[in-house]
């Protein structure tokens, strides 16, 4: 197969490969610059930091991507068999060392930079006075619980769980603190106030994801995982489940309503009034 005649036809695959790779590079760069399918705008300060880190990583990997692919296309075209003799080269020690050091430095630097945004979310808790909301994943709905006027979450007893009687979380009726707890199917949050979500699950692992918050966190049965952030933009955002939780995974969906302070208070009062009515 590798006879002299193969050199004649060898320009075709070389040119084709070069073209395909260039189209790949071109379209990839285009879709990233045109942002045809893209992240929605972030609505938290930390989200902005994360986007900044995304930007740095895009630039860096983008350069490497273009360079590596174009080099590959060029090498393939340049060194197609046109009767030349291959160079006998075993390697280059110096180049290897330089390349290794360079990638090591860049990668570690990137990792250290990214640590900042991560630490912002995960090291250290929220400021005192943050609004606490408990988020519970259940096959296949989200439940949100507010502590109510007493500011305390009531005890939960799995034995009392019964969605049909309106107690999907199993609030223990023997605990006075649970009486005024507000349980909703959508998440209502005030704008510009620090929020702390306490994530838990009743059955299997789910994952709480709001794109605009740049927050994704698994809810793990047996654990309560806190997440904190401040929303800076009023609006409605979608909450999805991102960890496979069973056949209804795809429709485990809720809405995040970010309200102005006044609207939020109004909403809270309405809920409390309803709660009081139901409790009588």
């Amino acid at each position: 197969m590798v006879s002299r005649k193969s050199c004649a036809g060898s320009s075709v695959p070389a040119v084709l490969l070069a073209i395909v790779i260039l189209i790949l590079v071109g379209s990839t760069v285009y879709f990233h610059v045109a942002k045809t399918w893209w992240f929605p705008a972030a609505i938290t300060p930390v989200g902005g930091q994360i986007d900044q880190q995304f930007f740095v990583t895009f630039i860096l990997t983008g350069i490497v991507f273009v360079l590596a692919q174009v080099t590959l296309a060029w090498l393939v075209f340049r060194y197609r068999d046109h009767g030349q003799k291959a160079r006998f080269v075993r390697g280059n020690h110096m180049l290897e060392v330089v390349w290794t050091t360079a990638t090591l430095v860049i990668f570690v630097a990137l990792g250290v930079m990214a640590a900042h945004a991560w630490g912002e979310v995960h090291f250290g808790g929220p400021e005192p006075g943050a609004l606490q909301v408990e988020v519970t994943g259940v096959q296949f709905v989200w439940n949100f619980r507010y502590p109510g006027p007493d500011g305390k979450f009531g005890r939960i007893n799995p034995k009392d769980i019964d969605a049909s009687t309106g107690n999907p979380l199993g609030l223990d009726s023997n605990d006075p603190a649970s009486k005024d707890d507000i349980v909703t199917g959508d998440l209502y949050l005030p704008v510009n106030r620090e929020i702390e979500l306490m994530l838990r699950s009743q059955d299997v692992i789910h994952s709480f994801f709001v794109r605009e918050l740049r927050v994704k966190q698994d809810t793990v049965p047996g654990l309560v995982i806190p997440v904190h952030f401040t929303v800076t933009k009023i609006g409605d955002y979608e909450i999805t489940c991102n960890q496979l939780c069973g056949l209804g995974h795809y429709h485990m969906h809720a809405t995040l309503h970010v309200l102005s302070d006044a609207d939020f208070q109004q909403w809270e009062q309405k809920q409390e009034a309803q709660n009081a009515q139901a409790g009588q």
Partner: protein, 583 residues
Amino acid sequence: MSSHASPVHHSEAPKGWLRHYIFSLDHKIIGTQYILLGLSAVTIGVILSVIMRIHLAWPNAHIWGFANGVVSPEDYLRVITMHGTLMVFFVLTTVPQSGFGNYFLPIQIGAPDMAFPTLNMLSFWLTFVSMLVLLSSAFVPGGSPISGWTAYAPLSAVGVVAGPGQGLGQTLWAVSIALFCGASLMSAINFLGTTIDLRAKGLSLMRMPLTVWGWFITASLALLAFGVLLAACILLLLDRLAMTSFFIPGGEMVSGVLLKHAGGSPLLWQHLFWFFGHPEVYIAILPAMGIISHVLSTFSRKPVFGYKAMVYSLSAIGFLSFMVWGHHMFISGMNPYSALTFSILTLVIGVPSAIKTFNWLGTLWGARIHFTASMLFAIGFVSLFVTGGLSGIFLAQPALDLYLHDTYYVIGHFHLIMGVAAIFAMFAATYYWFPKMFGHMMNETLGKIHFWMTFVGVYCIFMPMHYLGYAGDPRRYASTDAVHYLARLQPVYVFISIAAFVTATAQLFFYFNFFWSIKHGKKAERNPWRATTLEWQVSTPVPHDNFGGHYPTVYRGPYEYSVPGAAEDFIPQDVAPEQVAKA
């Protein structure tokens, strides 16, 4: 072939069809059996992905084989679970290592067979049984499991209350994987023992072909990783069948049933699974890296650029692969400080991968490239490896991963770097070694059509998935109905599906070429690629004990191409220095 070793009486192949082809002890037959097993697994796997693509692009399309022709959400999850499990275990783990490795490792190191032939046969048949057990899950009440190939507890642990398929189907899954672990451990012992003790005279470690290095390091990873998965599967089975509470916490209310388990840790499953699971990624790709280096060198007519750097980077990847499992768990609720450690280590493991890419490009530099089908797939591999590797840099940073995790971005990433890249290596290996295995050449034109359609096809499938990830599209969704922001992504779904159909169709060229060429391909010479390593110096078909009783002595490194002063542009490993023809 030039042989300088003292003749050892060589053994005859066993008589009888059953002993020769079915319960064979010959590593070549066993390797072929593994490849055919993988070929059936990949066929089912591809059919399953076609079903997924039809369903995702046209949710109301009627598909044969499903109740009322409709793919229900649980059907969809069964399909993804089986697709993932078949592809990861029975294709990516099996074919490059147990298939091609079994066939060519002993020949490339000048050995008559694997060190433990009976063990070798047992591991194949155990793998076979394991696959049967897995497939049988489709035919039990409830069907195959719906928990994905990662089988996260408690979904996988609490039983049928968690959903259809989580009863007997999930149990069969766990049994199948446990059997597979046993088979892989036996196979790893064989590979390591063979490489350590059965190398030909003169074949020092630094003269081993990079394929052998790939298989050797992979076997070390398999040896240390599969025992852990086996332990995890045993604990999972006990949770499912014996009411223990390893992975199931207390107070679980699933589908209105209050479970009696107490105190277990769902994250424990993830730690055990990914402690295996990350090395597993490299188990799939390291043999591929070896094969690609081998093929690139042959068809570049050049030594591998930086052979030693290639060996060290393979070893470094192997070593580091045991320290990065946590990057699969950034959003799982693990300690945020350890997440940072895992993040840095994950970025560091990118360094040896970058070295390899650099050296592949270095091998092409100054080459004289022969564009065989095998070489095209090898070049395609390098392109895919670059693309898939760079997206990994995003996922390695926990702050970015928390947006992209469990979206289509991850699907795009790992399919390119681990799935398709490894598949490209298998294709490169098939086109490369087919003449030695079957004594006939594969058709080059069909091979090239196969390459072009596949290469363009896989990029059209998996690049757009990255964009879906940017838009926050979660993976494993049976339907996009419930989420409003997914509606505008439907055209992308359709585009991907069409690309998938084209790519799947391209594989028909491969099947035809493969089975047709076994009988009707052009008769192959002993060394059609004019290659240097030992497998090309033995006659075709390869004798029962590989060397007809005359074992070779190795005098040089594996990739002596275009050596200045030599008459030919390649010098086989077993040619003594004084016998090299001068130009």
